[in-house]
């Protein structure tokens, strides 16, 4: 058995100011890392919850995004009667032809406004996305009406119910706010397909088709049959997979955050090292006494290393507390696939906080090793003489 943990814990509590300041320094480093991880976690959650497992997104062959895909109405009519497609309650195939474009909405504090995805779609598209209404009603066919995602309504005061937006040469009325849960659809604006096509003069050019397979197990077969149909020249992929790939839009921010955190961690390691060197120096005669009592060099090393790790672990907890207010805070990041902003919520979950504490422990171990080794290396008589 080694030196009791009580010894380390009590010594940390005796020097409260030093302990607090070192823990705070490490905590700030951990908070930066956790913020970066929370960002990507929230982004992943937004995209992962977008889409249904039975939905397939059909794009022109060779296109990697809806914006770069061009489909005709003829393609839509051919896909409409493909085998393996689920039917709505009234027997209609669940297939939605869609136009996707980017509009700019006024945003407070921004001269350039906020780029938002405008999606023109058929009623089947709303049904397949399992959307609810937070406020108002769905748009009516034949009318220039918009339903905005909940995130859009929150972040753009100009896009609230009852307001009118100028899109192209027309004025559109905002009649509803849709609730898509945590998914990326909350960052889009929906409207009637034909009205959008007319507004943008795109009666022959559509972007994508969303359809629903009649079962999850039939999805791979449907994907293959659509891709192999020479008349169609399309590819189909699960809707979830399409959105999951868009998580990469957060990668630059995440990588920046992690890099900053790593650089800060070097400083924090030195802070921990400095604190522990001072500790070892101050407790030199205690080290000598412990050696006289029979504790070995390795138990001395382990004890001081543990103390550094505990100190850093406290910093990890401080970092978790500092980053907690970010949890569920909504923000947006530029999406390179849709060329618009995607709103998401920071997600500070237990696994992220655990990563923060582990990161802090590594900082503590790295910073505490050399001082602990110095403590263990002291000769008994030298240690006893130092006060």
């Amino acid at each position: 058995m080694g030196i009791p943990l009580t010894y380390n814990l009590r010594n940390l509590s005796v020097r409260r100011t030093t302990t607090a300041l070192t823990a705070l320094g490490i905590g700030l480093t951990v908070a930066v890392l956790l913020a970066a991880l929370a960002l990507i976690s929230g982004l992943r959650a937004a995209f992962a919850s977008t889409g249904s497992p039975r939905n397939l997104l059909v794009l022109r062959k060779g296109s990697t995004s809806e914006l770069s895909s061009t489909l005709t109405e003829e393609t839509y009519r051919q896909v409409l009667y493909a085998p393996g497609i689920a039917a709505a309650g009234d027997g209609r195939p669940l297939v939605s032809l869609e136009i996707v474009t980017v509009i700019t909405l006024p945003k407070p504090g921004s001269m350039s406004g906020q780029p938002i995805t405008l999606r023109g779609l058929l009623p089947a598209g709303i049904e397949m996305r399992n959307l609810g209404l937070e406020e108002g009603r769905w748009f009516q066919a034949g009318r220039r009406e918009l339903v905005v995602g909940a995130s859009v309504a929150r972040r753009c005061p100009a896009a609230r119910i009852g307001s009118q937006l100028r899109i192209g040469n027309s004025d559109w009325d905002v009649v509803g706010v849709m609730d898509a849960g945590a998914s990326a659809v909350n960052s889009e604006v929906f409207a009637d397909l034909n009205q959008v096509a007319g507004n943008f003069n795109r009666r022959e050019q559509f972007n994508s088709i969303l359809l629903r397979s009649d079962s999850e197990t039939a999805v791979p077969g449907l994907v293959e049959s659509l891709a192999n149909d020479p008349r169609l020249n399309v590819t189909a992929q699960p809707e979830r997979a399409y959105y999951a790939r868009q998580t990469a839009s957060g990668a630059p921010l995440q990588n920046l955050g992690i890099m900053v955190a790593l650089i800060m961690s070097v400083g924090s390691s030195f802070a921990a090292m400095n604190t522990m060197y001072a500790t070892v120096s101050r407790r030199s005669s205690e080290i000598g006494t412990l050696r006289v009592l029979g504790f070995t060099r390795s138990s001395i090393l382990f004890s001081f290393l543990i103390e550094s790790v505990i100190l850093a672990g406290l910093g990890g907890l401080v970092g978790c507390l500092l980053v907690l207010p970010l949890n569920r805070v909504t923000t947006a990041v530029g999406n390179f696939t849709s060329m618009s902003e995607t709103a998401f919520r920071f997600h500070v979950g237990p696994e992220i906080m655990l990563a923060g504490v582990v990161f802090a422990v590594v900082i503590g171990a790295a910073g505490g090793f050399l001082p602990a080794r110095m403590a263990a290396g002291k000769e008994i008589l030298t240690a006893l003489r130092e006060t």
């Binding site: 058995m1 080694g2 030196i3 009791p4 009580t6 010894y7 009590r10 010594n11 005796v14 005669s285 205690e286 000598g288 006494t289 412990l290 050696r291 006289v292 009592l293 029979g294 504790f295 070995t296 060099r297 008994i380 008589l381 006893l384």
Partner: protein
Amino acid sequence: MSTPVITTRNLTKHHTRENFRVVALQDVNITIQEGEFLALMGPSGSGKSTLLQLIAAMDRPTQGDIRVLGQDLSVFTPHQVAAWRNAHVGFVFQSFNLIPSLCALENVELPLKLTKLSRQERFEHAETALKLVGLADRMHHFPRQLSGGQEQRVAIARAIVTDPNIILADEPTGSLDAASAKEILTILSRLNQEFGKTIVMVTHDAYSASFSHRTLFLRKGEIMAPYQKPA
């Protein structure tokens, strides 16, 4: 008192300090019997503390050998020396050397952490040791809450808690007032007479030395032979 527990033969210790060689001990030959209470006296720098440190295997001799409880510690590994010291030697320092962040009971319990005793057994042993030195009512006090004499009594309790064969005391009364010093010396004397502990005590004080069976005098690292009056 017939079994030797400590024997030295030509024991020599040199220190090197900033390119100067200092002779701490030179050809010391002594035998200490089991159950003996020996005092080591001499001026500062005479080698008293060095001899104590060599007995406790806190340092290694430059030349000669030393056997404690029949063992030549120079062949032990550092781990073995530490374990041996924990089991067989109790050390009492002039400045008590208690751990400030631990209470009296926890300080006394410390050496037992290296044994196989259970938590409950360790606490019982520590309590017993504190009662022996008359501090049963101060078990949960921290060193800063104790007087100098009380701190040294806790230190003695810590030194005896593992039931060592030998107690080494380096000026145990050096930091104490006369009354506290007498208390400490009385405890040491009792440990020797009632419990048969072999005690080697370094002291500057003749009164302290009077508690011992025998006094050895050192000067410049050598044992001084007692003066023989001419017949």
